[in-house]
């Protein structure tokens, strides 16, 4: 029995959030999913909810996902974060590595997303 967790989904696209939410609700029924549409909103929601996982888009109006990940890691070094982005360029992957966050490319496969959401099971 998996312990129910909380996931923060951050994407400026409502459709992208719906697609990711649907995958999580299918594979992890009962988990709480909270959403944010910008990097700024993500920081605010994170501090209030303290989710177990954060899934961050990169290209968003205002603060992008890389900057949001950097700020979250500075304040919450234990946070479990992945980027989920269409921007597959190598420098973005490299920046994710150096920040200590994951990198998933869109469209993400269900098993790949679930592997990320199992990261703190062991």
């Amino acid at each position: 029995m998996t312990v129910k967790k909380t996931v923060l989904l951050v994407d400026d696209s409502r459709v992208a959030r719906m697609m990711t939410r649907r995958m999580i609700e299918t594979d992890r029924p009962g988990w709480e999913i909270v959403e944010a549409a910008t990097g700024e909103e993500a920081l605010e929601v994170y501090s209030r909810v303290l989710p177990d996982f954060v899934i961050l888009d990169v290209n968003m109006p205002g603060m992008g996902g890389l900057e949001a990940a950097k700020r979250l890691k500075e304040v919450y070094p234990q946070s479990v974060i992945t980027l989920l982005t269409a921007n597959i360029q190598d420098p973005v992957r490299d920046q994710a590595d150096s920040l200590g966050v994951g990198f998933l490319s869109k469209p993400v496969r269900g098993d790949v997303l679930m592997a990320f959401l199992s990261m703190d099971d062991e």
């Binding site: 696209s13 459709v15 992208a16 697609m19 290209n59 269409a86 360029q89 469209p107």
Partner: protein, 209 residues
């Protein structure tokens, strides 16, 4: 007007774009869970008016919906995903599931198309950038509805910019879902030359030249 490229350069550009479009097709195929068929990329040097006319000819002259992203780096331009007819509802249904009511599907159509564009156009741009070892910044996607001229309209031309554009496009289709469309790059001649030089340098390096 095709003498901006010699045969070797045209072959190199086609190959690089083939690989980039292949990445984009892979992303689309995953979204719709079907095979995506691609044409051979075609490169033309045209005036913006001729490019718009060409797009109208290929899309049957009707209105199209498109997602456009501007990109910049060592070369700059626009990349577009164009659907000649209103086929995007098929895609939305595929992405969000069959259980969504039709009115909600319609409401989400534009946002869904922008997300499809975001995924596909960035897969293509990202692959190009990775192959050429260059960073390319792209704008957020914007949605356009209209005929060729409004879809390809890039606003007032900066002073000194050539009247010609490089119009590079690929047709794609998902037969099982009755979805077909075009992916197009539009660059002014100065950017196109930088792009062609980068492709040629890449190919030369690959061949150990």
């Amino acid at each position: 007007m095709t003498d901006f490229l010699d045969d070797v350069q045209r072959d190199a550009v086609t190959e690089i774009i083939n690989i980039a479009i292949g990445q984009a097709a892979g992303a689309l195929s995953q979204l719709v869970d079907e095979e995506v068929r691609l044409s051979v990329p075609l490169v033309h040097f045209l005036t913006p008016d001729r490019a718009a006319l060409r797009l109208d000819e290929e899309t049957g002259g009707g209105e199209s919906v498109a997602v456009r992203q501007h990109f910049q780096g060592p070369f700059a331009g626009d990349i577009l995903l164009i659907f000649p007819e209103r086929r995007s509802l098929h895609l939305v249904r595929q992405m969000l599931g069959d259980d969504l009511p039709v009115d909600q599907l319609t409401e989400l159509e534009q946002e869904a198309l922008m997300e499809v564009g975001n995924i596909i156009l960035n897969a293509c741009l990202g692959s190009l950038a990775n192959q050429l070892g260059m960073g390319v910044e792209s704008s957020l996607p914007c949605y356009i509805r209209g005929r060729g001229r409004s879809i390809l309209d890039r606003g007032p031309r900066p002073e000194g910019e050539s009247e010609m554009v490089m119009f590079l496009h690929v047709d794609f289709s998902v037969r099982a879902k009755d979805v077909h469309g075009y992916l197009a790059f539009v660059m002014d001649i100065s950017s196109a030359r930088h792009f062609i030089d980068a492709v040629q340098a890449y190919v030369t390096a690959q061949l150990g030249g």
